[in-house]
Structures are given as C-alpha cells and as structure tokens.
Assembly symmetry: D2
C-alpha cells in the first residue's frame, strides 16, 4: 500500500535484463555507445521527428533545468503554473541553470495554466522595456502536479498564445506516458504538432531507475544542450547504462503498458473513493494520481495499517474529529497491484 | 584490447546483483532509503570518520563541481594542476557551480602540483586586495591525470601549504582506489589525516555504472552540499539504485580487489613496454594507467588489430617514419585481462 | 510640470560645488579618498551606528542587488512585495547577483507587505526540505512603490516576523529620506533599531547625480560586500566623485531639506486633487508621490500643456469618455516648484 | 609628483562645465536624454560607424565584463594576455558576467599577445569536443598593461587569427586614446577596420569622473547589451550626467589633447630616465606609461619627497643596496605637468 510517489516503485525485470545485456565488454562512453544510436532512432520514430535531438539525463530536475536554460536567456521569464514542479520542487534549479531567470506564476484550476491568465501576463510583458525581465518561454506540465491532464487541444491553445509572443514551449513530461495513454493520442500530437519545442520525456516515475530523455525538435539547439549537460555534470561516462534502460523500456511498448497499468490502478482507487461516504475527489484524474479527501477516521486506519501517502497540502494535521475530511494525494505506479488498492480502500470505509 | 579508458569497462556481476536485490518493492526516495543508511555507515567506517557527510552523485564532474562550490566562494581561486580534470575535462563545470570562480593553474611534473609553485602562487595572492580574485581552495587529483600518484607525504605537504593560507583542500579521487591500493595506505591516511577536507571518492572508473561518493569531513557543510546537489539536479529520486551499487562494490572488499587487478594489469603493460625496443615510459606509473611512447610501426599494428587507446597528447598524427615513436595513454580496468595485455604487447614488438 | 519621476530632476548647486571642490589635484582611488573617510563617519553618525559598513555605488539597482547577494544564498528566497522595485524594475538583477535566488511575492495594500501574508509564507517555507528554495531574507521598500510609507512600528512588526525565522532584512530606501522626514523619526529608528540589517540609502532620487550608500550594520559582512561590488563592476576608480556628491548632500541637512520640499510639493498636489471634482487618491501619500485618478478631460488638458507623468498602471489608454477617470502617478522632487504644481492643478479642473 | 595611476587625476574644467550645463531642469532618464543622442552620433562619427551601438557605463570593469558577456557564452574561453586587466584586476567580473567562462592566458612580450601563441592555443582548442570549454572570444588591451602599444597591423594580425576560428574580438581600451594618438591612426583603423567587434572606449583614465563607452559595431547585439547592462545595475537613471561628461570630453578634440599631453609627459619621463645612470626602461613606451628600473637610492629620495607611484611588480621591497635597481611603473595623465616630471627626475640622479 505504497501510494506516496511513483518514484518509490522499483523497475520491471525487463529493465534489469537490459542492463545485464548492456554490461557485456567494453563500450565507448559519453553517449557514443551503440545502444544510444538505437534509442535515438527509436525515440525519433516514436515522436515522428526524424531530426529531433535526443539526449538522456538521470533526473527530471536535470531534464527540466537544462531544457529551460537552452531556450530561455538569463533575463527571460519562464511562465509556468503556480504549482509547477520547476517552481516548487527543484530548489531553484531553473534559476541556477538559466543564470537567474524568473519564474512567473500563472494560475488555473487543477494545475493547468488558464489560457486567459497566460495571455494577460504575456500581453502585459509585451509592453515593457529594459527595466523588466523579458518574455522568455512557457513551460507546461502534463500530467499536472494536481494530477489533471492537459488535452491536446488545451496544449495547442497555450502553445498558440506562446507563439503569438514568439516564445518557445517546454513540456515537463515527468508523467508524459501516463498522460499520453490516458489522452489516447500520439507523442507527436501531444508535443510538436501542438506547438511544443522541447520535452522532458520522463522514464523514472514510470519504471526506470533514473532516466529521462530530453527531446528537442529543432536540432540546431542540440550542441548547446550538450554543452550545458556536460557543464552541469549530467553527461554519463558509462552512458550505455542510461541507454540500455531506455531501450528496454521502449521495447515491445513496455513503457505504454506500464503507464496504462498505473492509470488503471489509479482509476480503481478513484472508483473506490467515489463510493466511499464522506470522500470527495479534489481534482479530475488525468492519469495515475488521485487527489481526494476522506474522513480522518479512514486516514487513521490507513496509516495504522502501514499505508504510505502524502497529505495534500502536505502540512495538514491528522488531529481533529474523525468524521472531518482531510485531503491527500495517492499515486499509483506500474508496480501497484489491485490487491494494494483494494486493501487500501477497505481501510477507509468512510465515516 | 580496450585501453581507451577505465570508464569503457562494464560492472562486475556483484554490482548487477546488488541492483537486483535493491529492486524489491517500494522504497523511500531521495537518499532516505535504508541501503543508503548502511552505505553512509560503511563509508564513514572506511574513512574512520564517524561524523563525515556522505552523499552520492552519478558523475565525477558533479562530485567535483559540487565539492568545489561548497568550499569556494564565487570570488575565490581554485588552485589545481594545469592538466587537472576540473580544468581540462569538465567544460567549465567548476566555474558554473561556484558562480564564476577562477581556476589558477599550477605546474609540476607528472600531473602533480609542485609544492614550491603552489606556495609561490599563494604567497603572491596573499598580498592582493579587492581588485583580485581571492584565495579560495586547493584541489588535488590522485591518481593524477598523467597516471602518477601523490604519496601520502606529498599530499600532506600540499595540504600544509593550503592550511598556512587558511584554504580547504579537495581531492579529486576519480581513481582514488587505484591510488590507495598502490600506496598501501588507509583512506584516512590519504585524506583527512593528511589535511584533505572533501573527497570525490570515485566508483565509476572502478566498476560502477555511475556512482561517486562525496565525503565531507566537516559535517557542518552537509546541508549546503545537499541544497547544491538538489539544485544541480543531482539528487536521485530512486536513490536506492545509487546506494545499492555502492553497497555491492564496498562489500567484501570488492572495490579494493577491482583496483588491485586494474593496477596489476597496468603493471603488466608497463613491464612489457619496458622490454620493448624503442619504447619509453613517459610518467611514473601510480596505478592503472601507463603513459608510454613506442615506434609508429607498433601503433599501426595495434590499431589494425583493433586495439583501442588514445594518443597522448591526443592530437598527434600516426603519419611518419615507422621507427619514430608516438606517445599514448593505456588505461587498464578491473575487466582488463592478462590475455588482453599480452595480445596487445605482442603487437608492438618495437622497431 | 515634470512629474514623471524624481530621477528626472537635476542636482542642487551644492552638489555641483562639492564636485568642483573635490576636483583639486590627485586623489587615491577606489574608496581610499579622504572625502570617503568623512562620508563614512558622517553616515555612521547619522545612523548612530559607529561600526556600520558604508559603501557607495552609483545606482539603486546595484545597491539593492549587492545588498541582497551579500545576505541571501543562491538557494534562498527573497520575500518582497509583489510590486517591489527588485521584482518589477531591475530586469532580474537580484537573481543575477545572488546566483539565482527566487523572489517570493507577498501581497498587501499600497505596496506594503501584509504581515500576516508574510508570516504565512514563512510558516509554509519552514516546513520544507531539500526540494525547495529555502527561506533567505526579507526586503522592504520605503517609501513603497505605491507611494505609501511603512511606519516605524510596521517595519518593526515585519522585522520581528523575519527574525522569528532567522532571516535578515533589507530596506530598499531609494526614497528613504522622503519616508524619514514624513515619518519624523531618526534613521536608526527606521532601520537597525527596528530590525533592519542592510539599507540601500538612496541619494539619486533626492538630488544626487547617481549615488547610493549601502549601509550594513554588521561590519562582518563588509568584505564580502566589497568583493561583490568590485566583481560587479561597481567600484569606482575615481571614487572621490561619489564621495563628494554624498558629502555635499549630507552637509547642513541638505538631504533632509530636499526631501521635505519634495514631500511638501506632493502634499500640495494631493490637496489640489482632493478638491478636484471627479478626482480620487488611490493610495495614502507617504512622501513625495501621489497616485490619483481624475477625469480624462483633465489628462487631455495636462498633456497638451506639456505636463509629464505616467499613467499608473502605465498601460492604460487615454481613449474614452472625457468624464471617465484614469489613474496616474505624480512624483514631486526637490526641484518641483509651487508654480509647477499650481499650473498643473489648474489644468485639471475636473469634469 | 603623482604617477601612481592616471585614475588618480581629476577632470578638466570643460567636464565640470558640461555637467553644470546638463544640470538645467528636468530630463528623461535611462539614456533617453537629448545629450546622449548627440553623444551617440558623435561617437559613431568618430568611429566612422554609423550603425554602431553606443552605450555608456561608469567603470572600465563594467564595460569589459558586459562586452565579454555579450559576445562569449558561459562555456566559452576568453583568450587574453596573462597580465590583462580582465584577468588580474577585476576580481572575476568577466567570469561573473559571462556566467562562468574561462580566461585562457596567452603569453607575449610587453603585455602583447604573441600571435603564434594565440594561434597555437586556438588550434588546440579547435580539436576538442563536449568535454572542454569551447573557443569563445579574444580580448586585447591597448595600451597593454605593460604600457606597450599594439600597432594597427599587430591588431589586424590577431584579429585575423580570431576570425579564422570564427571568434569575435574585444578591445579593452581603458587607455584607447593614449594608444590612438601615439599610433597616429583613426579610431576605425584601430578597431573595426582591423577586425575588432567591440571596444571599451575609456574616458575615466583620460579626464572623466567615471564614463566609458562600449561601442559595438554590430547593432544586432545592442539589445542584449542593454539588458545585461540594466541587469548588472549599470544603467543610470540620471543618465544625462554620463552623457554630459562624454560630450564635454569629445568636444573640440579635448579627449585627443588630453591624451597627447599625458603621452608627452610620459615621453619626458622616459627621456629623463634614459639619461639617468643605472636606470633602464623595462618595456617599450606605447603611450602614457613608463616602466623602468633605477637604483634604490633614487627611490628613497623620490619617496621621501612625496612622489607616488607603484613598484612593479608591486610586491618588491625597497630594502637592499642603494645602487641596486628596483622596477616601477610611472603613469602620466592629462594633469601631469612638466614641473611634476622635472622635479621627479631631479630626485633620482642615478647611482
């Protein structure tokens, strides 16, 4: 009953097997391994982007910060949602990597930027001069940090606003695959066809040990990205172990299967909670995360039984009347089982 | 016959096994995994430093740059050897992480800083004012980039000079274990007992996929390091996979055995080359690297047979008379075999 | 009729005279001039802070950014009002100088941070870990960007909140003297006695060509500030010309007289507008700035007559019905005359 | 007898007068003043560069660091002489402003980069990959820090090498005018016609209080420069006082006359020293600086008489036999008189 985060899960056996296969003999380092050649080709194929620059790093923060720094100058503003991971959970990595850019926070329900709010901020910024941080880029997160999902048309709408101002768009896809299979679209539809310029295509939360691909659709940016990656200490000498994980994960649509399973387990949680008296969903479920409140009595029972998850907002107290609801985040992963879900739901029978 | 770099080698089966063991079930992320608790205790034990801060990162550049940034202010100078990895091979990562410090280059034979040269530079810097970069810290590399080794007493001498100026000392130990077993001393003797404040304790070149421990002997620096690591995108969410590799590697003295083997293979190369007519060793061998020149005819033969290694300096040309020597770097690793060495030596019979 | 900004005014003759006096012969550079010794002593005296570090720079942005960088680490948050100059008008200088810190915006009426809002943000930040930007420092602006004034007791209250969290406090005093004479307190009361650690004590807007003093009450920070100033290119070689301006300005209470005059002219504007039909004050007047709206017909008349001021917000349009009000900012300076004010008021007789 | 630095001198009366003239009434800020329009036109005219971007800052360090940052990426190397001001006297400002670039030091007699040494370094850098700092730009200083002068043809030769590698060239012209009048060429010949892309055109050392023009010959770089200037805190609100100084200085060829005078006084020093027994010139005199050694007995006499100058290298001791020579730097300025020079020479009659 571990719903604290999808990054608490392990990796499927196919990934371990891929690592073992890659371990044979000597291999050139720093991304010149033969496996990376195949991975690059495969990701270009998946994204229908034969020219795209594809680079691997080990963490989502690195993927995001390097992507932002490659597209946004130090004096640029990055427009993102108020609860975006880049704003709230990266200890200022975007500011560090960009050389001091400013994150400008956009509101919107369920972690999705409201297009009108974005348009307003950009319109205001369009009228400023040298005294102000300049318009830099837009960064979306899909799935959002509230577990919701941007539809393809919503992404298009935001990208259109960005394009009106000449701004590139970054997609933080730490849970890209969960969004993708839920939306039922192609990677191209969710990214460059909608107007996205660079994607953090996350593997870690969906079954890898620590691999994220940064996919840049304009290959002219590749070399700068490579220099920033190296300079950031994110270029692996024994790169084959990143490549191998990614290859094993992409093989036979494993990545899609893992995300589908995680989403299904979240749907099962959601369904159970919707039947629980006193429980209430806080945000529409976009993929593998459920944000819900339920009576404290159920929290007590769940925690005593060893269930792991975060209150959300995380700084709430369990103290209070047993029937008073408390909100929480439940994250399902590729390794969540129906049994985990059902046992958990049994513990919170409502008030 | 792969002598290009020790980071071209794979990992021993014990490391794969450790990863597989760690893969069971859910685990807390970001360094809160139980394996890390054991790794921290083990490394403290190995270094006889029960209070030391121990943190894992995935690359040597990250280990070095974060260590430097934690000890050196933006206006500080880092004194290092002219061919140090931090100067030549990290694309400015130290400058990036420190916020723009300056690397001041010290000469000395075989990649070892000459104590008198260091003392002179520091004495000159002691007399400057606000117009100049200030004295910041000293960074040694052991093994050096020329394959030589600082003895414990040489480290002590340099640290004493640094201490005279109130400067902390960093040890880039990408090949720390190779130096350690060759020197026949303890980790404590090579580090804090000699005056070193922070070590990049490298695992990657000696049998890991990508794990380096940064060991800081003053625990008061730990929290700043953690913030810099996170902000640099170097904190792993599924941290257990770094921990597990490190644990497997430290178990049963595997790390020492791997380094001893690599050093023995380099010694075998060295011995063979010393018997080769027209060959000459360029630097004293400190561990697992051999720098030597031999006639071009031998290079032709080796390369045709598929041997892999770098000319050193790397920008030399193979053109020229067959008997004319050309210098090269040969790196042995834990996975180099006697057969690799002997076949290679057979190819270069001299002029 | 120039009310666009107090930095559109010139300098009083005493400042020119001081420059001329300072121009005699040779003088040591970089702050070692004898005039600076006197200025330092005088400012320490004015602030009743005999140990304070006193440094001059030429711009308010430099004063603020250097002050912030000296007190806030790269991973720290600077808590400031949403419309603070450091957030809105310095093109990211604080982020640049601090190495990428994050400005966290606090709301509050009239440009004053609401103490409860600040306390809430800090309380939330107190519960975070390595994933988040850490609490760094608090920055107040007095006068505020909305022309209001923090009273001494309001400053004390905010400083107390900061101190509860162990945070230093910066006061952006671009219009410090205007606030001071309006509040009728001493410099010490408005700063260190209230809990302020570092002040940007502005001279430029109140009669200097370009001189601001940064006053740091803890002299242990002085050397770091000096290095940051030099490294930022803000240490003047012919420093005597900064010193001389400051000396001339402090002499015979000129600085206080200039601010009193500016405030009186703003009061005259305010009084006139309060008698104007259809006009309305937008913020309480704290010193030399008046924020008011009045009918567009009056704006038309004023602008045709050559009056200079900014609409506030600046991106409003003059189009619209003549009786419809439009808001604007009017800034009086030491060189504003009663005649300027009265002619201006005559132009906007209301609807 | 003040020969310590040309920045110890004051300003000529024309500059004070220009400030007084500019002080009349209100003026738009931040470079929008009418005087700046005239200054821009005048400097474009002087440089025969009708499209050039012209911006004023108050210090040479700001001019240099901003110029470098505008042309060199964070991962770029700046090739400069080992004793360049940007390397030795700016406390890391270039590293700070560029975001962590690396200064690569080139040797050469008299502070002039040796073309072959530059070509060698660039050739080596041309063969590196992602692990290394990339070629960024070249920075010359004229007059050099050793008081010598690059001829136009020497500048051309270095620029040609830079151009072969696609690198822009910066000219640190803190003593540009001294070099110009000594060389007897036009500003265009010394800069863009020779291949220079950006000049720090220094006024401070030659008679201004603190004004340097950054002249960028490709106007496409202007906006980035303006943002960096603002973000660095170097945009003056009361900009007219920078403009006015510059205008007064350029008027009636005052700038040229001042430099000619300074150079003549240095020539007089040089001539006197060449007649002094036991004295010896250390570097060829390019303009207004003389580097020479003479017997300690003469130093004793000069210092006792109140002469001010620096030993060079500055950390030498006056102790020693009276006839033993000691080297020093003597800088003449626009305000040095024949009497200063002659009295000084009288004090050092040789051994």
């Amino acid at each position: 009953m571990f719903f604290a985060s999808d990054n608490s899960s392990g990796v499927p056996e196919q990934v371990l097997a891929a690592l073992a296969r890659a371990n044979d003999g000597f291999a050139p380092g720093y991304g010149a391994d033969a496996i990376m050649d195949r991975v690059r080709a495969r990701i270009r194929d998946i994204f229908e982007a034969p020219e795209a620059a594809v680079h691997l790093v080990a963490t989502g923060t690195a993927a995001n910060a390097l992507a932002l720094a490659t597209f946004c100058p130090p004096w640029g503003a990055v427009y993102c949602h108020r609860i975006a991971h880049i704003e709230e959970d990266e200890c200022g990595a975007p500011e560090f990597y960009t050389g001091g850019s400013k994150l400008v926070l956009i509101d919107g329900a369920d972690g999705r930027m409201d297009p009108a709010a974005l348009a307003d901020k950009l319109a205001a910024a369009a009228r400023v001069g040298v005294h102000n941080v300049q318009k830099g880029m837009v960064s979306l997160t899909n799935l959002t940090e509230a577990g919701a999902r941007y539809s393809v048309s919503e992404i298009k709408a935001l990208c259109a606003i960005a394009r009106d101002h000449g701004l590139p768009v970054h997609l933080d896809g730490a849970r890209f695959t969960n969004a993708l299979v839920a939306e039922g679209c192609t990677p191209a539809e969710m990214t460059w066809r909608a107007g996205v310029d660079v994607v953090s295509f996350g593997g870690t939360k969906n079954g890898l040990m620590g691999v994220e691909a940064v996919v840049i659709f304009d290959p002219a940016k590749a070399w700068e990205f490579e220099l920033r990656r190296k300079r950031g200490g994110h270029l692996f000498s024994k790169h084959r172990y990143l490549s191998a994980q990614m290859e094993g994960w992409l093989e036979n649509d494993l990545w899609l299967d893992l995300a589908r399973h995680a989403n299904a387990m979240a749907a099962r949680l959601e369904a159970g909670l919707s039947r629980t008296p006193g429980a209430r969903l806080m945000h529409p479920r976009g993929g593998n995360m459920v944000f819900a409140e339920w009576p404290r009595v159920g929290h007590h029972a769940a925690q005593e039984a060893g269930a792991r998850y975060y209150f959300w907002p995380f700084d709430q107290s369990l103290d209070g009347p047993g029937e008073a609801p408390l909100s929480a985040r439940l994250v399902a992963s590729w390794s969540t089982t129906e049994d985990h879900v059902d046992r958990f739901l049994d513990l919170i029978p409502g008030r």
